[in-house]
Symmetry: C2
Subunit: 374 residues, 2 copies
């Protein structure tokens, strides 16, 4: 293996594929980036077995790549070292050459590294074959789906299916749902495809996918019952799916409401934010008392003290209600709505309530209350 390549293009590509690499991989080779040099192309691969990212570099498809291939071959290099070397090297072109077994020489202008690589035969075989089921989604819409849902997934492995976002396509309607069983985020978008499917994608994979999206374009997505593939330019991001049935969540979402308030999103965020440091056993519980005229936000802790704030919403409809909830959950829910005005719909003191963006009906946030003590 022997090739020359542009430092900047290589560095950006290495950064992208390294996103798939986990710091505590059980297999040593997976802490590295695999470099495959063929006749006209270089392929970089990073993986943690759950998510794999593959990027193909050719002079035809990538500007200023300045790729010169002298000899084909393949090697795996520890990703931390490789990124460090390429970032700091003293020239705009870098030369990589295998000099002895898995010892690789990396040369800049005045500097020469000899780094212990890992033979590519020790790298697991990753099947990148394309499944037959394929559809397209606009990149920015997909990014928004990811950003507005993944925060609500569970970070506990007990019910693994809740650590992912569920994508349910039926009649061209794609419902994207995330829940940790205390709160739920649901985004609904139109997809121009006659397919029907119900898959759950790990939250971590979706977040890496979101970071890889750079411009407004259509992304091709291929799926089977084991994995999903996302094709963005010359990059392929492949993730395994989470097995197991995702819970039926639509029946949890109330449709009849007793009390509804409409108010400025920032006003509600600021008020909760002012109360959030008042904690009981590490949790910030906030109480809302809504009457005909206004809404009182309060919070109390034996240790810290108490807070009370009066807010006059733009509109109050329905019965008086007292309801308590986790301040952080409602803060998250409102922040990820990206709303100017929000509407909060209550069904009862111990029933889940819904927070909506008045200007965007595609997204809904649901939070479970906690018992109110006085």
């Amino acid at each position: 293996m022997n090739f020359k390549i542009s430092k900047n293009v290589l560095y950006n590509s290495l950064q992208l594929v390294s996103k798939a690499i986990s710091n505590n991989s059980p297999l040593p080779a997976l802490s590295g980036i695999k470099i495959d040099v063929e006749k006209n192309s270089i392929t970089l691969t990073g993986s943690d077995a759950e998510i794999s990212i593959k990027k193909v570099l050719t002079n035809e498809e990538i500007e200023n790549l300045n790729l010169i291939i002298i000899e084909e071959g393949s090697i795996v290099i520890e990703s931390r070292y490789l990124l460090e070397i390429v970032r700091k090297i003293d020239s705009s072109e870098i030369n990589f050459e295998i000099v002895d077994g898995s010892l690789i020489k990396i040369t800049g202008k005045s500097v020469e590294y000899k780094i212990n690589g890992i033979r590519s035969s020790e790298y697991p075989l990753i099947d990148f074959n394309k499944p037959n089921t394929t559809f397209k989604i606009n990149s920015l819409i997909l990014q928004k789906v990811i950003n507005q849902t993944t925060f609500a997934t569970s970070d506990k492995e007990i019910r693994q299916v809740l650590t992912g976002v569920n994508f349910n396509l039926k009649d061209k309607n794609l419902e994207c749902v995330a829940t940790d069983s205390f709160r739920l985020a649901k985004k609904t978008i139109k997809v121009d495809s006659d397919l029907n499917f119900n898959i759950t994608i790990p939250s971590k994979s979706l977040n890496e996918l979101s970071k890889a999206i750079e411009k407004d374009e259509d992304i091709e997505i291929s799926i089977n019952n084991k994995l999903a593939q996302f094709y963005i330019n010359n990059t392929l991001i492949q993730t395994r799916l989470i097995e197991g049935a995702y819970p039926e969540t639509n029946r949890l979402i109330p449709t009849v409401f007793k009390t509804e308030i409409t108010l400025d999103s920032r006003e509600m965020v600021s008020a909760i934010d002012r109360a959030i440091f008042i904690k009981n056993e590490g949790v910030s519980i906030i109480k809302l008392s809504i009457n005909k005229e206004n809404m009182i936000i309060s919070s109390k802790s034996q240790e810290v003290g108490s807070l009370q704030e009066i807010i006059v919403p733009e509109n109050i409809k329905g019965d008086n209600i007292d309801i308590s909830f986790s301040g952080n959950y409602v803060l998250d829910a409102i922040r990820y709505l990206n709303a100017n005005k929000i509407k909060i719909n209550f069904s009862g003191e111990m029933k889940p309530f819904i927070i909506e963006n008045l200007d965007d009906s595609s997204i809904l946030q649901l939070v479970l209350p906690v018992r109110t003590y006085n």
Copy 2:
């Protein structure tokens, strides 16, 4: 106690005095900020017993303070809560009022907190009496002294005196020395005072002092054999001194050299920075091989691999030499020199070497080599 005050001025002052507060203070009251309200002034105090910061606020001396004192009094409030409340409150003026024992009411526009304070009788008595020995130093010069020395102090408590910077004033020459016994930083400045003293100030106190310096002015410093006081505007920063004799370091600094090189500071920093990830048991050892024509920087580790880089210094004088050292120590030393061109003076393979800023003779950095293996 009952007063109104400008939110912004109060917040900035609280931030300043809170710098003295340690997260794990043995005395609960010391995790708070003490507020003393007198007839025409408010005094804020923060302390961890080693360093204490006191700030006096009066309408006469501080613009836009808008202080209105309704009732005198005194209270201690947990600093985390107080900073959080003042930062986020919904008005530009805040009202503080003791309502019941140590319960304090803090009021903004629509929000009202009732926070459990701590009686000021539980706060330790801090003696802020001014010692008689007093001199002045320009604030920006003092800041530079601090920034160029404290990094070289020891972070180990075994030899406590090395955790501070030693200030030795003799014949109007102030020598400021920091060392952890592997490297040493020495800054020499002129002080217009006939005093002679030799004191050691904790590095942590100096770093907080440096952050409190905002403009070019003369700082009054008062010392006795227990403590030092720094008067900056309406702020008094007081620190205890470290007891015990500081080692005599001047005899450690070589004055006769066998090899001298002069080169661009950034070139040397970049070269070491490229090698620093190559570690043996967590330490980056770098070897310099200097001959008549050039200098070879190299580093090697069984696990990672090796690096070699050729640098041609502007000037090489004296004998050929091979010398090895901790990459991080030399990187620190050069960075804190703030130099364009540096001169490195070697006395021998196992003797300390000196790094100087060619444009600033007031600062000197010394590093001990390690044994060179081939």
